[in-house]
Amino acid sequence: MSAPAAPVAQLHEVSLQYGKTCALNAVSLEIPARSMVGLIGPDGVGKSSLLALIAGARKIQSGQIEVLGGDMASRDHRRQVCPLIAYMPQGLGKNLYPTLSVIENLDFFARLFGQAESERKTRITELLRSTGLSEFGERPAGKLSGGMKQKLGLCCALIHDPDLLILDEPTTGVDPLSRNQFWELIERIRQQRPQMSVLVATAYMEEAERFDHLLAMDDGAVLATGSPAELLASTGCESLEQAFITLLPEAKRSAHKQLVVLARPSGNQEIAIETRGLTMRFGDFVAVDSVDFRIERGEIFGFLGSNGCGKTTTMKMLTGLLPASEGQALLFGQTVNANDMATRKRVGYMSQSFSLYAELSVRQNLVLHAQLFHVPATEIAARVTAMAERFSLGGIMEELPERLPLGIRQRLSLAVAVIHKPEILILDEPTSGVDPIARDLFWQLMLDLSRNDGVTIFISTHFMNEALRCDRISLMHAGKVLASDTPKALMSKRELPSLEATFIAYLQDAVGEQAQVPAPEATEATPGAAAKTLKRKRFSLLRLFSYTRRETLELRRDPIRGGMALLGTLLLLFIIGYGISLDVENLTYAVLDRDQTTTSQAYALNLAGSRYFIEQAPLHDYDELDRRMRSGEISLAVEIPPNFGRDLKRGAVPQVGMWLDGAMPMRAETIRGYVTGLHAGYLQEMARQDSAATASTLPTLEVRYRYNPDVESLNAMVPAVIPLLLMLIPAMLTALGVVREKELGSIINLYVTPVTRLEFLLGKQLPYIALGMLNFVLLVIAAVWVFDVPLKGGLLALMVGGLLYISCATAMGLLMSTFTRSQIAAVFGTAIVTLIPAIQFSGLIYPVASLEGFGALVGQIYPTSHFLIISRGVFSKALGFAELYSYFIALLVTIPVLLALCTSLLKKQEA
């Protein structure tokens, strides 16, 4: 590998623009190898963009980036080094799969990197033990607390022994104890693998002190580089936090003032928040175990605890989002009631994960929340401006939150929480991932609110310097409050110099020896040579199956979806098979008999005898005819003229009038056919009575209905409905496969792991092909045994056709999924490209040959048309491969075309 001296990454004049904003401005720097490099700087200065570029997750716009001795603009090089780079993106568990358990998530990543089973097992056990997640191995990732998700994210990044580990704010929202464990873990790995370089972006200056080398950034440019000691020396500051502030340009620095915590005017206050034995159970699991506290009006109450200890749950109970299992929560002396609108207006809440509207701009979010809290319309503009100023959101008011860095999103969430001037603020880790300056600004605001406006603040945090600013704090662990007092009192109680040490001491008491992670013996599995070679393959079945396995697991976790697909199609086969009867019957008609003779009655009787028609009450005049036809009550009106019988006998050729309802042309055509036939029949009958000789000269037409002698709709329809269902359902099943990952963030794994686009797509497609085949088999069984539709041809041809067809259908879904950006659009798009072509253009009702225009074109290439012919051919006409080969070929060709389209629409890097 690279010599110690050579940098692991070199950037030359790298710039990045998002629309009009410049994220990076001609950055040139070197990142030394075999060391721990920290990237520090305020929120939104381009740290994450820089990391994403180095990791190869984002496309280079301009400049040059060399990582691990090659150009990251080259696709070949990226493929080469991808297995050597691990990248953990920002955000709580963004790259994880929420329905998969902790172990399954890890296993998925291990497989992506081509590890053998024994290796995977050792690594997963080791990583879980090091991070204290061992007990939670079976828990779905979505049910983990924020900090635990971060740990799992790190484990996933570390699974494959990278040479370059890139961590974007990895400890955001992680409790101090775990944070220690986290860095110890990285330290241990570095000892075992000294060639590994680590690049970390962080907002915790205490952490930055541990690093070998720091890069301070601001406004898309690097301000200073050097070791922590060098930075301290050059700025003449005592702490990195100060040094960091000193490094900033004057304009930004001036906004920052040393924070002064004023003492709270003492006592005699009313109680704002109170809980009595508050308990929350989820099944057997006690998340919050009889928690009691009383918080006075105007107090800042800090809530500290390990990850997953029940802080968030407690807060949700206070807001009424979760009803308590036991005990009481009182706000302003009144029990929390989810339906009490008046109380809601007095409370501001900020949840841990970003939960504002990503599709609304910053300003629109602020305005919307002000409106929903019924801030008077005249004040809204001023209030929004004030918030923008207070939280330094001025420059980004028109941006969409999804494009903003975590720190700034947090500020926006806070601004939203206080925009209606609440009396109580419940804030769940509001400052996680926020830079030090912004944090101080935010605390300034909170102190203002508390001291001047008497706002009660209930806040959870992992920053000890923030905890110190609270009036009182509670330490929580495993659902229980361990201690509750002023920070100073707690410290003196344990006789420890810092709050962090005090906190850790309390926690260790509570968990006993568990927290002491035993130093691991050098059990790290050496990566097998087999794994190494596998990594460089252009196409790997192992990676493909990794996605297949994951997709299958997700499908199995969601039995409703699979069940709905199977049962739903059977039900639809039944309803549509019976319902879509094309023999037009039970037509309603009425007679306007203006002759009223036996001849005219005989004529009318001729109609009544037909099985197609149902006679309604006779008509009396034209008005009635018009009215009843308009309302749709009758679809045929027969007018027999006066003197019909007499004229007929005289040979005067009387004229019978027939009015058809043309609103539905197909029905009208059929009726026209029927009445012409009936009329002809009547005449023939008459002629036969007249003279036998003349009638017999006309040739007879012997009609033979082939393949379906009784012209039973069911026999014709069932083999046609099966292709219809097998297009719509499998396509909808895969339609969200890709776009869902895009929307929820896990698409990043495609960007930064060695998996190729085709492996990714095929891996996702396979389980749905399997499900589709199962579905197909069930439908065929139902058709043959329940509907008694004869299957005349060979089963093999039908199954092969089905397999090809389902592959087409699932690929159609994937295509919509890669094409769209939101899940809604994918669902709608899939409905559009499947429903109409499959129902109308594929020969279900009208033969494809008789279609016209664009529909005819679609019908000729649409997979349903081909499979419909195969299905009908095999079911009704006893045909096989020999006769139908061209349709098999058409399907066979469609699959690679669709997949190629998908691959070209899918990006391996973020644009």
Binding site: L321, I575, Q655, M666, E702, F828, A849, E883
Partner: protein, 374 residues
């Protein structure tokens, strides 16, 4: 008043979200313009371009006359084939009809015998099988009669039948197809938009945020209903005016405002349905599947594709629960037959009832699922 304000502002928010999704907007525009044109113009007349092959074993003037009678647009030019080609051609679906004219056909006709022509019909093409066979029968009889008329003066006396088609004299398919397609799009879009908007809020955690604010579940629901309903209603009105009347030149007999009133009620029902599904499904993949499973019967069995009265009684009864059944009914009455409110009020009532049912159901489920969620 505050409630109305909430509903209004939340609805505006929905519209803004929609505006941020260009792919979705594009699909909506497609659905209400080209989607309708495509569906309307490619629908064949019931017997149109039918493929027919003739095995002519007679090769007489009469048989030639008969073959010439099969003309476009009803039939493609007949293919003359040999007897042994017939089976294969039908098996592969090349010909829907084959006509076998026996040897000595003309002679037998003139001799006053009654020779039989054999007509093979591919009955898997159910829609064409009947009408086509009927046409061929009529054509055959006419041609033979005309042929005979030259040889014999006297034919049996007849009564004529004058068939007049009301509302759509030429039975132009696109008149029917275009409006039914508009209805399909209305239903599809409104259900998907509202259902998915709800699931999206749940998946992104934003609904949790709404629930700590002074906003109630009915307000959240109504906001989605009015905003998405408005989008679809506007699209419908524009589509009917510009695409159906303008581009496709379909005459609309009745009152457009009355139809739009019906569409409004229908949207109330379908958007409520959408939200109802949104409360049943737990994730977008589930919702997508649920929606497609519902849309298929709504599109096929509401009477917009095949006539309702021909469906089995049970299916007819089941489909009465679907708002589309009534909407298709009233749309046909108003737009084609020019019916007024006096005629279609029962359908209006039915749609209101169904809408109310889904709305109540959605509301009950909404409270329940929200309690489980957080």
């Amino acid at each position: 008043m505050e409630q109305l304000a909430n509903i209004f502002h939340l609805g505006l928010k929905e519209l803004r979200s929609l505006q941020r999704d260009p792919a979705l907007l594009l699909l909506i525009i497609w659905a209400f313009t080209l989607g309708i044109v495509t569906a309307a113009t490619s629908m064949p007349e019931s017997l149109h371009n039918a493929s027919i092959a003739v095995v002519d074993e007679d090769r007489s003037p009469l048989s030639a006359r008969l073959i010439d009678a099969f003309q476009p647009p009803f039939f493609r030019p007949p293919q003359l084939i040999e007897l042994d080609q017939m089976d294969h051609g039908m098996d592969s679906g090349q010909y829907t009809f084959t006509l076998n004219i026996p040897p000595d056909f003309q002679r037998d006709v003139l001799a006053g015998h009654s020779p039989a022509i054999q007509l093979n019909v591919d009955a898997t093409q159910v829609s064409m099988a009947f009408t086509g066979a009927g046409y061929i029968q009529v054509i055959g009889a006419e041609e033979v009669s005309a042929f005979l008329r030259r040889y014999r003066a006297e034919l049996p006396q007849q009564a004529q039948v004058a068939i007049r088609v009301a509302f759509n004299p030429n039975l132009t398919r696109s008149w029917f197809g275009s409006v039914m397609e508009v209805i399909n799009q209305i239903t599809m879009l409104s259900i998907i938009l509202t259902g998915a908007a709800l699931i999206r809020e749940r998946e992104h955690g934003t609904i949790e945020h709404l629930l700590v604010m002074p906003v109630t579940p009915p307000e959240i629901m109504l906001a989605k209903i009015w905003s998405m309903g408005l989008v679809v209603l506007l699209a419908t009105a524009l589509s009917l005016l510009l695409v159906v009347q303008g581009w496709l030149q379909v005459p609309i007999a009745g009152s457009l405002p009355l139809f739009l009133c019906g569409a409004l009620l229908h949207l109330f029902a379908t958007t409520s349905m959408g939200i109802f599904f949104g409360t049943i499904a737990r994730s977008m993949p589930q919702l997508g599947l649920l929606i497609i499973l519902v849309l298929i019967p709504l599109q096929i069995l509401s009477g917009g594709t095949t006539p309702r009265e021909s469906m089995p009684e049970l299916v007819q009864q089941i489909m009465l629960v679907a708002p589309t059944t009534h909407f298709v009914d009233l749309a046909q009455a108003i737009l084609y037959r020019g019916a007024g409110f006096a005629t279609v009020w029962p359908q209006f009532l039915a749609i209101i009832a169904i809408g109310g049912l889904f709305f109540t159901g959605a509301l009950l489920r909404f409270r329940k699922t929200l309690a489980q969620m957080s």
